[in-house]
């Protein structure tokens, strides 16, 4: 497969945006835990989870290169399509006001309240055993959320990176850049990143992933695109992005109108 500049760039951007969404969700919980319980244990939990995730990438990444590329493209393309179209559907319904927007500020308050509640329960009893348990709780909360959201990032990186030789690096770079951006924002803001327009981000990511999934399934199956030769099929990616975006933007007012219209019969 010919890996052009378009493919490298779009892989990096898709990985960056998809990872950004997951990192913001993890950061919300880590900030909530750290602000209530102190920073040492949650940061240790995050560090341990990142080490486990790095080991998963190292183990699974090279293994994928041993499988025939068309098979990987169809399988990974199908998986990318499943979660890309799922994200796009949800973003359309949120934009149309049919399901509520995800509120990072509310998620922060909920996590902080849960940690405060367990803090108060532990304070009733006394002794060094409890302080160790409290540390474990903060560690476990940060470890769990980092593993949870991080596993999704790892999956995204491996899936995007499996599209062709040399794509694992831009996919990894996109995820690392997202982690860096969110960490810097977290350090600067010390509060939930409610200002990040999450649904807009999910809308864009849904479009990108759906376009990638369609392209890879087509590449794996040897499908053809009008006006493109086998040497420049990469150009189908921006066309697919524009087409998915147009369909999604049309669906927002259409679904809103359909929701308001009275049901006949």
């Amino acid at each position: 497969m010919n890996i052009g500049f378009t493919n490298l760039g779009t892989t990096l951007v898709a990985s960056f945006l998809a990872s950004l969404v997951e990192c913001v969700e993890a950061l919300t919980v880590v900030l909530a835990v750290g602000s209530v319980r102190g920073w040492a244990s949650p940061l240790a939990g995050v560090a341990c989870a990142l080490a486990v995730l790095a080991a998963i990438v190292a183990a699974l990444g090279p293994a994928l290169t041993r499988i025939p590329l068309p098979l990987v493209q169809i399988a990974v393309g199908a998986m990318i399509l499943l979660f890309g179209l799922r994200w796009l559907r949800k973003a359309i319904l949120r934009s149309a006001g049919l399901i509520p927007l995800h509120d990072e500020a509310a998620a922060f308050q909920k996590s902080a309240a849960a940690i405060r509640s367990s803090n108060a329960e532990a304070a009733v009893s006394s002794g060094p055993e409890n302080s160790r348990r409290l540390d474990r709780l903060a560690f476990a909360a940060a470890f769990n959320i980092t593993m949870l959201e991080g596993t999704e990032v790892v999956f995204i990186v491996i899936a995007l990176g499996a599209g062709g030789t040399g794509l694992l690096w831009p996919a990894s770079l996109g995820a690392v850049a997202a982690l860096g951006v969110v960490t810097a924002l977290g350090v600067a803001l010390h509060r939930p990143l409610a200002r990040v327009p999450e649904n807009t981000l999910k809308f864009v990511v849904g479009v990108l992933l759906s376009a990638f999934g369609t392209f890879w399934v087509g590449e794996g199956a040897g499908l053809a695109w009008p006006g493109l030769t086998s040497a420049d099929t990469d150009l189908a990616i921006p066309v697919l992005m524009a087409a998915y975006l147009a369909v999604a933007l049309c669906l927002v007012p259409l679904s809103r109108a359909l929701h308001r219209a009275p049901v006949e019969g």
């Binding site: 499943l82 799922r86 559907r89 319904l93 053809a224 009008p226 087409a243 259409l254």
Partner: protein, 69 residues
Amino acid sequence: MHWLRTIAREILGLFVDDGSMAVAILVWLVLAVPAMRHSAPSTRWTGPVLFAGLVATLVESVLRFARRE
């Protein structure tokens, strides 16, 4: 091991939100892709046909949700 189950559940949730849309996507890929693969040498429109089927599943799922809610 509870976190492993939670991660497994979350990963499944990455793919499946509207079950019937997920099934429709898979059915379209399983049925249409092999058929288009055989006809690929004779036409340049197999890629757009794949895209059209996927868009149809998205449109159906969104409009079904809008009508139901």
